[in-house]
Symmetry: C2
Subunit: 545 residues, 2 copies
């Protein structure tokens, strides 16, 4: 008996959102999905009692201002396709009563007193010129109104329009005739809480192919995430095919079939741009560079002593390193249009530097008192180089922790340790910060750890309002030791949705039971759109995939 | 520094099989894959220095005895297809030296002194009549010889031939010209350590479609697993479309698109039969039956007191329950040809029985002293019913623990608690046992818990040789709270491979480093064959998928 109870509790405790006694398992799904709820939850939404029907074959989006552009036209086509391809696989003839009928999902809507006819037109009111690339400063606010048998999506910015289209597509609920959607009268004003809402993807530990990256970008759109942090190279492999240094991937990639050509990179950046997603690339140095050393051992440290024969981090005491880095960074800033370059700086093992006698001599000669200072010399020059190339830097927290003086505006990404204390310290020095510590997608727990993700908020630290504003947002991190093309989508979705809502929706949106019901729907929605999102809440089912 | 070390150790400690210092991460994959090693490792294999080439377009399997059958003919076609479709995606022209060349993988094999020409013919020597269905008693032993430019696979049984074909297909290593395989002269005698090597799949918590089940069966073949334990229904849903009681799935399935029709069931059984895999179905009673109660509340217990309004386990005090079960079991035994039916018996919550006053009266009247005895009355009748239908029963350990007297030959499956003590007790009473406790695929750990699976052996308990022989084997369990069609294959493979080897290969095969290298290859092999097996060992890559 005790074993029985312990087991059931262990498996189900995270899922018991109905307050039912643990050992009583009801038939049906663990969590009942909502219908037509938007994920992440909008800042302000009023839903009326009356409703319209939307016929995909008739529905039209019309840009009613003069500010249209290719991004908008492509987005309209995309959402028409998404809406039209919403399918219900249920075998109609054998439809049964228990799960498939509810008050908003019957054949009888025509005679419903709250029914107000078809909604055939959605007006797009974009009130200023399109920007070419999304940026940290982009305006993603929009309003969405469904009223008087008409939809209006309005924004000052193309990026806001994109977010509004996504919201609209999520509100449509297929009716029983499977040809028509139902949507309630609605007023929405929405804008994100944080401007930087990212997903880090590591493509070094395992190569993730371009098609899968594009699926990830699609999935980010469904969650209103706006930064694809491309951790493109690392110790294990160097898949980026550089123009200046093709030998890096020629020798440093796992294989020549496992590289990102310049064409591939453009493809990713364009796919992201059309969806209002920034591509922030990371070339992590001075550590995490072992794969660079196959073609360029001269820039890495030759370890001595017990580590003899091994190569360590980039050698900060030789000019070759800085010349190489400047040439590489010049290319990177040209290839990746985003204002920010992530220059890494995490996990620099000082052991190899310590073991190298020439580095010791350099330090004595130049009065460098410790390895933190040595790292500072290196990072300072890299940050300056990035700055001179008209870009800004993002660094991992160690750079801050080691006391490197950072120029104004350098963003510090917090990934481990006491996040609250770190956020407090970083912003106290006037530096912007990003939070990742609590959103590591490679960390697994049995069942649905999206709830752990959901319990973490980037504003939960002691600091002034000014300090809070310096938190630009955060990123979920998909390190790829244990994922490849075959399971990376499953591992990201829907767990990243929890992070996405924490970064978009107001602080007050944090009810777990409500989120569970909405995430149940959102997961099925993502599956219907082709992403193999995994079950978030235990036993259940989706009909549309 | 400490943070750095701690983090790297945490992530990589499981993967550090090269004896390298934890913070030194070498470029390239974490674990170097073997080439042409068979998984699970054969009982006895001698590999010569000389080698042949095998050309898929020329290779022929020839049955040289009179005992051929459809199973064999289909298998030959299947393996010809598997071998022919082995592709290497590397871009040849840009092939680089670091990963793609090694002594057994160059263009120069023609001039290698150990090269002994083409192997174009594999003779199949089946020395007795094919059986129609695999069974617990089936003979899976085979010998495989590659010598004198000829292959010979010999077995007394069609099932042994199937296992031999699988082994042969795994030994072929693609050469650099990508049209030819290389294989060393080899002598193998192989047979499994345990006759019951299973995978449980729960299709109630999430519906797994027939196509995915067939992929799972294919994957079982690649690991020489031979029992598909189909946990087909449970509390949450009843997807089995019964002939006698169609209302069970009409009302108890999640949806009418999420059912297994009789045709579906036949499809699964046939797909399994052709691969030498038994389909052992489970209809778990008296608990885990809530979905049954939607159409047949009369057989479940109406709880009283605080649980009033709830339905509990099957009511063991009313005749309706036994009549219903006899009719259902009669159908099950007819539909599923295997000798064994799993009748469940796990996690029976006694609270509902306790709360029902009529059950209390029955117990007083019939001198049933406790709920264990009440359960015994029920299970005893079900086991007898199964027996009268010429089948045997498998039960979960609780049935044994509750002291139910079981007829000879009833198999007890151990899934929790102190497995060693349980195996000892069960076999001491002369009952056969199956082990599952340490092979729960729904339990996740960060990274590669296949190593935990691999550390568990079904013979590691105190008992006589006679007792050890009563362990028929074991099963890995894929409970489906957190998996559906989108991630179930990734969750099963390659972790189930660890269980498969523990149940097939000799006790002495337990070197983790060696297994890691072989599993790295085996995972890529499964991926090449279309299964999205997840990375087993951290950073790495497969070329063929």
């Amino acid at each position: 008996m005790d074993t029985f109870k312990a087991f059931v509790c262990l498996i189900f405790i995270a899922f018991c959102v109905n307050g039912s006694i643990a050992y009583i398992v009801n038939p049906g799904p663990m969590v009942q999905a909502t219908k037509g709820e938007i994920w992440p939850k909008p800042k302000a939404q009023t839903i009326g009692e009356t409703f319209y029907t939307v016929r995909p074959k008739v529905l039209k989006f019309e840009v009613v201002t003069n500010f249209t552009c290719e991004i908008l036209e492509k987005a309209i086509k995309r959402y028409i396709r998404i809406i039209s391809s919403t399918k219900d696989r249920r075998k109609h003839n054998r439809s049964k009563s228990r799960h498939s009928t509810s008050h908003i999902d019957t054949m009888s809507w025509q005679t419903d007193p709250f029914y107000e006819g078809n909604l055939d037109l959605v007006k797009i009111r974009l009130t200023s010129e399109c920007e070419k690339y999304p940026s940290l400063q982009m305006d993603e606010s929009y309003s969405l109104s469904l009223n008087d048998q008409m939809g209006i999506i309005e924004s000052k910015s193309i990026w806001g329009i994109l977010r509004g289209l996504e919201s609209f597509s999520q509100m449509l609920v297929l009716t029983e005739d499977k040809m028509t959607f139902r949507v309630n009268t609605t007023e929405i004003f929405d804008e994100p809480r944080y401007p930087h809402r990212g997903l880090l993807l590591d493509t070094s530990r395992h190569y993730i192919n371009v098609f899968t990256i594009m699926q990830i970008l699609d999935g980010m759109t469904y969650n209103k995430l706006n930064v694809f942090h491309w951790h493109i190279v690392d110790d294990q492999s160097f898949p980026y095919q550089s123009k200046a240094f093709p030998e890096l991937s020629n020798l440093g990639a796992y294989d020549q079939s496992l590289v990102y050509t310049q064409k591939d990179v453009v493809k990713v950046i364009e796919h992201a741009r059309y969806r209002g997603i920034r591509v922030m690339v990371e070339f992590d140095t001075p550590g995490h560079t072992r794969s660079w050393g196959i073609s360029h051992p001269e820039i890495l440290t030759s370890c001595g002593g017990q580590l003899s024969g091994q190569l360590g981090p980039i050698n900060p005491t030789v000019n070759a390193s800085y010349e190489f880095m400047e040439n590489l960074l010049r290319e990177i800033v040209e290839v990746f249009p985003d204002d920010y370059v992530h220059i890494g700086g995490d996990e620099v093992g000082f052991e190899c530097w310590e073991s190298n006698t020439e580095i010791g001599e350099y330090m004595t000669k130049n009065s460098v008192q410790n390895y933190q200072m040595l790292e500072e010399i290196y990072i300072q020059r890299i940050v300056d180089t990035v700055h001179s190339l008209n870009a800004s830097s993002v660094v991992w927290q160690e750079v801050f922790e080691n006391g490197v003086r950072l120029p104004n505006g350098t963003v510090v990404q917090v990934w481990t340790g006491n996040r609250q204390s770190l956020l407090q310290q970083i912003t106290k020095q006037g530096l912007p910060a990003l939070l990742s510590s609590c959103w590591y997608l490679d960390h697994l727990q049995s069942g649905g750890d999206w709830k752990t993700f959901y319990g973490c908020d980037a504003a939960d630290f002691a600091g002034t309002d000014e300090q809070k504003k310096l938190v630009f947002g955060g990123e979920a991190c998909m390190w790829s030791e244990v994922v490849d093309n075959g399971n990376v989508l499953q591992r990201i979705f829907p767990r990243v949705s929890a992070t996405a809502e924490k970064l978009w929706s107001p602080y007050e949106v944090k009810d777990l039971d409500d989120a569970a019901r909405r995430l149940e729907e959102h997961t099925c929605r993502m599956k219907m759109r082709g992403l193999p999102a995994q079950p978030p809440n235990g036993a259940g089912f989706c009909l549309n995939n």
